[in-house]
């Protein structure tokens, strides 16, 4: 059974379409994050090896860069989605001026916060989902980093430079 989230959105707002588009945007953001991480990661792993004759052998003492260096910029898609979601309440509010002035009804309701709730709750929920997706992607990529880096070739501080993750 699908949950009825219509109470989180302005009356008559096509909230299912909004959710569909947000889901799609999150899907693209996740794909972008994955590929943006995987290619530098693969390159970093290749650089751990050298050729001895026809055989690839690990360079003793070589380490992959810290995880944040490889993941840098990968979350940009999620940031973009979040920025769009922050602007969404403006469209929700403007909805009450389209085809009528339903804003008059919403502003004279006994429940003072109903208008604000319906403009903000949906985007807030989607923002939380975006944050969770970004976190899940981060963990997935870190797992990849942890599992696919040959033993003994991880840097001492795998989280060095974590501040640059979003840049």
């Amino acid at each position: 059974m699908k949950p009825d989230l219509s109470r989180l959105y302005p009356l008559g707002w096509p909230w299912q379409r909004e959710l569909r588009y947000t889901g799609l945007a999150l899907g693209f953001a996740a794909l972008y994050a994955f590929f943006r991480f995987v290619f530098p990661m693969q390159k970093a792993i290749n650089q751990l090896y050298q050729l001895q004759g026809q055989k690839r052998v690990l360079i003793p003492g070589a380490v992959v860069p810290p995880f944040p260096t490889l993941y840098q910029g990968a979350a940009a898609g999620f940031v973009l989605v979040a920025l769009c979601l922050i602007l969404l309440p403006i469209f929700h509010y403007r909805w009450h001026y389209q085809g009528s002035r339903s804003i008059y009804l919403m502003r004279r309701l006994p429940r003072r916060w109903e208008l604000g709730r319906r403009c903000l709750a949906g985007p807030a929920l989607e923002l939380v989902c975006t944050a969770l997706c970004a976190l899940a992607m981060l963990l997935l990529c870190f797992l990849w980093y942890w599992l696919f880096t040959p033993a003994g070739h991880l840097p001492e501080d795998v989280w060095a430079g974590i501040g640059g993750l979003l840049c």
């Binding site: 009356l11 707002w13 085809g99 009528s100 004279r108």
Partner: protein
């Protein structure tokens, strides 16, 4: 009692829409609010509903209008305040959830009387049907004071006549109507009191029984109050034809 004391409203740019306006409307009254375009009729209603900021005092039974008592006021406007994408049934459900005194029976009866579809989105209604639905919502909310701002603009005469009759038939003694309109002659037998606005001030306030006692019609009273010059048109025409000659 809905009371306005010294209410002033000045829009950005300095135009004064309401100018130290005093007005009281008691329970059960049917009041017509008249005035030329820009006289302040709509502004007055929006101030009462808290949709516009104003200075002065507006009270409902001696208490300021807050979310606590706002449900005692309803509003039907020619700008329409329904949601075009929703059906009548969805509006009913929303009103029911928001207004504890929502009049379910009245809503159903009026919908049936005006033969409005309940499952069709309001945007698919004709102009007349949209106006009817707007008024139905205002009448069904369960409010004591029903404010109507030119609600029948765009409806044909038969439609409007029907509405006046239905209104008179269904209103309970404590229900109050404040009806803003230009249709002076049409509503004169429906209202019990006429309030005339001019440049944001009350320039006339009379009951229809007073007018009857004086042997005057509402239109005569309105023309007199606004100092309507009956020969205005003929003078203008004379002037125009002279210029052409």
């Amino acid at each position: 009692m809905l009371s306005l004391y010294q209410v002033k409203k000045t829009y950005l740019g300095g135009s004064r829409a309401l100018d130290t306006l005093d007005l009281s409307i008691g329970p059960g009254e049917i009041v017509g609010l008249f005035g030329e375009n820009g006289a302040g009729k709509t502004t007055l209603m929006k101030c009462v509903l808290g949709l516009l900021r104003y200075s002065g005092v507006i009270t409902l039974d001696e208490e300021p209008i807050t979310p606590k008592n706002i449900a005692r006021l309803s509003f039907a406007t020619c700008e329409h305040s329904y949601f075009p994408a929703l059906s009548a049934a969805a509006h009913r459900d929303f009103y029911r959830s928001m207004f504890p005194n929502f009049r379910e029976k009245r809503f159903a009866a009026l919908m049936e009387f005006f033969e409005l579809p309940t499952r069709k989105a309001i945007r698919g209604f004709s102009t007349g049907q949209k106006n009817q639905f707007e008024v139905i919502l205002a009448l069904s909310q369960g409010a004591d004071y029903i404010l109507m701002d030119e609600p029948f603009a765009g409806n044909d005469i038969f439609n409007r006549e029907d509405f006046y009759k239905v209104l008179l038939g269904i209103l309970e003694p404590h229900e109050t109507i404040l009806l803003s309109t230009h249709l002076v002659e049409e509503v004169q037998h429906f209202i019990g009191r006429a309030v005339l606005l001019h440049k944001g001030k009350v320039v006339g306030d009379v009951t229809t029984s007073q007018l009857e006692d004086e042997g005057r019609t509402l239109m005569e009273y309105v023309k007199e109050t606004y100092r309507y010059q009956a020969d205005r048109v003929s003078r203008a025409l004379d002037q125009l034809t002279q210029e052409e000659e």
